[in-house]
C-alpha cells in the first residue's frame, strides 16, 4: 500500500478541538465533518486539500478529546496519511480503528515542509520526499495493526472473529 500527495504541515499539539471543533459535533456524517476539518487552525485547508494529500505535524498530534470525528473528518476530506513525530494515544487508536493510515517519524516531521510532494510506502515505512529528494525511515506498523488496516478497520476484524 502506498500514498502520494502534497503536504500540509502543522506544528505541535494539534488538538482535536481544532481538527474538528465541538460546535460541529452535532453531526456524525463524514461529509459534513469534512467541511470543517482543521477550520480553527487553517481556515483555507478545506478549500485547498485534494484527494491523496498528506498531513505532517510534529509532536502529540490529535491530543484532547476521544472524538472519532477527528480521524473521520481528516479521512473524509481526502487525506491519505498523517505523519507526525508522535500522536496522542486515543487519536492513534481511533485512526487505526477507522482505517486512517498514520506513521510516526521524527526526521520526516522535522524535514518535510508545507507544499512538499511525498510518497509513503506503508509496508516498509519508507517516506520519500520527492521535492527535496530525501528519504526518511518510519517504523512500519506491527503485524496486528497492519491486519486491522488491511481489513479497513476494527469492525471487520471483529466481525470475522465473531463469525468464526
Amino acid at each position: 500500500m502506498k500514498a502520494n500527495g502534497k503536504v500540509f504541515k502543522y506544528g505541535e499539539n494539534v488538538d482535536t478541538d481544532v481538527i474538528i471543533p465541538a460546535r460541529y459535533l452535532n453531526s456524525s456524517d463524514p461529509k459534513e465533518l469534512a467541511l470543517h476539518c482543521m477550520e480553527d487552525i487553517d481556515i483555507d485547508f478545506v478549500k485547498k486539500v485534494q484527494q491523496g494529500d498528506i498531513i505532517v505535524a510534529t509532536k502529540n498530534f490529535g491530543c484532547g478529546s476521544s472524538r472519532e470525528h477527528a480521524p473521520i473528518a481528516i479521512k473524509a476530506c481526502g487525506i491519505s496519511c498523517v505523519i507526525a513525530h508522535s500522536f496522542a494515544r486515543i487519536f492513534y487508536r481511533n485512526a487505526i480503528n477507522t482505517g486512517l493510515a498514520i506513521l510516526e517519524c521524527s526526521e520526516a516531521a522535522e524535514r518535510i515542509q508545507s507544499g512538499d510532494q511525498i510518497e509513503v510506502d506503508f509496508s516498509t515505512g519508507i517516506i520519500t520526499n520527492l521535492t527535496k529528494n530525501e528519504f526518511y525511515q518510519a517504523q512500519p506498523f506491527p503485524k496486528f495493526m497492519n491486519d486491522i488496516i488491511a481489513k479497513e478497520g476494527l469492525i471487520n476484524t471483529l466481525k470475522e472473529k465473531l463469525d468464526s
Binding site: N13, L25, N60, S65, S66, R67, I90, N97
Partner: protein, 419 residues
C-alpha cells in the same frame, strides 16, 4: 520482574500471570461507556458487526450529557438514536435528562466502577475512575462498538511514571492545583502512552473529590490512565456507593518505572493554566492583572460537592463583579439536590451567579455559555485549547473552584486568600 498497579489489573483481565510494557493483550471489560456525541457513531459501527445484543446489558452505560437538554434538532436526533438503542438493547445504565449527570461524575456516584475494574469509555476523561483504583481509559466510538459487542478489547500494556506526593497541601491548594502543577512540569505529552501512578504519604490529605480531579486530567498530560492506590477513603467511598465486589491491586516493590517524580505538596500554590494549553501554568503569585468576562464552575473535573462547597464559601454574602457572568453547573442531579439542600444554590443566585442543570455545556463550547471574540473566561474545566469554549479568539484560563470563585468577585484572576 515486578508489575505496576495498572499492569497487574490488565494482566488479571487478560488471564495472564504477567504482562510487560509494550505487550499487546486482549482484556475483558467490566464496563463500556459512551455519551451523546460518541455513542451515535458507535451505534452505526455496532450495526455493521452484525450481532443483536450487547455482551452484557448491565455492563454498558450510555449517558446523554454533552448537548443536553438537547441544544438543537441535530443533537435531539442523536439523543433519540441513543435512547432507542438503549431501549432496544435493554441497557440498564442509560441516563437521560432528569437522571443524568456529567458521565465521569455520575458513573462513580452510581457505583458502576469499583477498584480492580477495567473500563473503556468513548470519552477521553474516562481516566477519572483511576481515583477508585480501577484501570480506565478513553477510547473512540469504534472501540466502544466492538467493546459493546464482544466484552473485550485490545491494549498495549503501558509503562508508567510514578508520582510520589509528599506532605500536606496548604489551605487553598486542591486536587486541581496539584494536577495543573504536574502538567506544567511534564507537559501535555509528558506521560504520552503511559500510566500515571500516584502514591506517597500526601495521599492521605486528598479527599476522593481531589483524587477524581487529578485522575480526570491524566489525559491532559497525554496519559493512558491515572491511578491511585486503594486506601480507607477509597473503601469507604466504594462501600457507600456500590454493591459490586471490588479487588485491591498494589504495585510490586520491584515494579519498573520510566521515571519517578517527587512532589512536595506543601510547597504548591494555587495554579492557573494560561491559554491555549493546560501546560502553560503559573502560580497565582505570578499572575498579573487579567480581567475576565466569564467564570465557569463545574464539569467532570470540578463539578462535585466539595467544589461547589468551596465556591459557595467564597461567594456567600458577596456580589459578583460588574460585567462578569458566572455559570455554575453541578455534576449530577444528586449533587444539584444536595447543593440545594445545603443552601449553596441560594448563595450562588444571591451572589449573582446562574446555576445550570447538569450538562457538559460550556466546557466544550457546546452551549450554555459560549464565548465571543476577544472574551476571557476563567474555568474549572480541563481544556483551554484554541476555540474550546467558543470563538477562536477567545481565551480560557484553567483553575480551581476557589480561584474561579475569588476571580468572580474581583473581576480578574485572584488569589482566594485575598478576597
Amino acid at each position: 520482574m515486578g508489575m505496576t498497579m495498572t499492569q497487574k489489573i490488565l494482566a488479571t483481565h487478560a488471564g495472564l500471570k504477567e504482562v510487560c510494557a509494550g505487550q499487546l493483550i486482549e482484556a475483558k471489560l467490566d464496563l463500556v461507556l459512551g455519551n451523546d456525541v460518541t455513542t451515535p457513531v458507535a451505534i452505526k459501527e455496532f450495526k455493521k458487526i452484525g450481532v443483536n445484543k450487547v455482551f452484557d446489558h448491565e455492563k454498558v452505560a450510555i449517558i446523554l450529557d454533552h448537548f443536553t437538554p438537547n441544544k438543537d434538532i441535530k443533537s435531539a436526533e442523536h439523543c433519540k438514536m441513543c435512547r432507542e438503542f438503549a431501549i432496544d438493547k435493554n441497557i440498564d445504565n442509560f441516563f437521560d435528562v432528569g437522571s443524568m449527570g456529567i458521565e465521569h461524575c455520575l458513573i462513580p456516584e452510581k457505583g458502576l466502577v469499583v477498584a480492580g475494574d477495567v473500563v473503556i469509555g468513548a470519552d477521553s476523561h474516562t481516566c477519572t475512575y483511576g481515583a477508585l483504583g480501577a484501570f480506565s481509559t478513553g477510547v473512540g466510538s469504534t472501540d466502544m462498538a466492538c467493546g459493546m459487542a464482544s466484552g473485550y478489547t485490545w491494549f498495549k500494556v503501558p509503562s508508567a511514571i510514578k508520582f510520589i506526593l509528599k506532605n500536606k497541601p496548604a489551605k487553598w491548594v486542591s486536587g486541581k492545583d496539584i494536577i495543573l502543577h504536574i502538567i506544567g512540569l511534564i507537559g501535555v505529552d509528558g506521560a504520552l502512552y503511559k500510566s500515571m501512578e500516584f502514591c506517597g504519604d500526601g495521599l492521605r490529605y486528598l479527599t476522593m473529590d481531589d483524587r477524581f480531579t487529578i485522575a480526570n486530567m491524566a489525559i491532559e498530560a497525554g496519559g493512558k490512565n491515572g491511578i491511585f492506590p486503594v486506601d480507607e477513603k477509597t473503601i469507604e467511598y466504594l462501600k457507600e456507593h456500590s454493591v459490586k465486589e471490588f479487588k485491591v491491586f498494589e504495585a510490586d516493590d520491584d515494579a519498573n518505572y520510566d521515571e519517578i517524580i517527587e512532589i512536595d505538596l506543601s510547597k504548591l500554590r494555587p495554579t492557573v493554566a494560561f491559554p491555549h494549553l493546560p501546560e502553560n501554568t503559573k502560580t497565582i503569585d505570578e499572575v498579573e492583572e487579567i480581567t475576565i468576562d466569564q467564570v465557569v464552575i463545574g464539569s467532570c473535573t470540578n463539578g462535585r460537592m466539595e467544589d461547589l462547597r468551596i465556591a459557595a464559601k467564597i461567594l456567600k454574602g458577596k456580589k459578583i463583579a460588574k460585567n462578569v457572568r458566572v455559570i455554575i453547573f453541578p455534576g449530577t442531579q444528586k449533587i444539584y439536590l444536595q447543593a440545594l439542600r445545603e443552601g449553596l444554590i441560594e448563595d450562588f443566585v444571591e451572589a449573582g451567579a446562574t446555576v445550570s442543570t447538569p450538562t457538559c455545556g460550556p466546557c466544550l463550547g457546546g452551549h450554555m455559555g459560549i464565548l465571543a471574540k476577544g472574551e476571557r473566561c476563567i474555568s474549572t474545566t480541563n481544556r483551554n485549547f484554541v476555540g474550546r469554549m467558543g470563538h477562536v479568539d477567545s481565551e480560557v484560563y484553567l483553575a480551581s473552584p476557589a480561584v474561579a470563585a475569588a476571580s468572580a468577585l474581583a473581576g480578574k484572576i485572584k488569589d482566594p486568600e485575598s478576597v
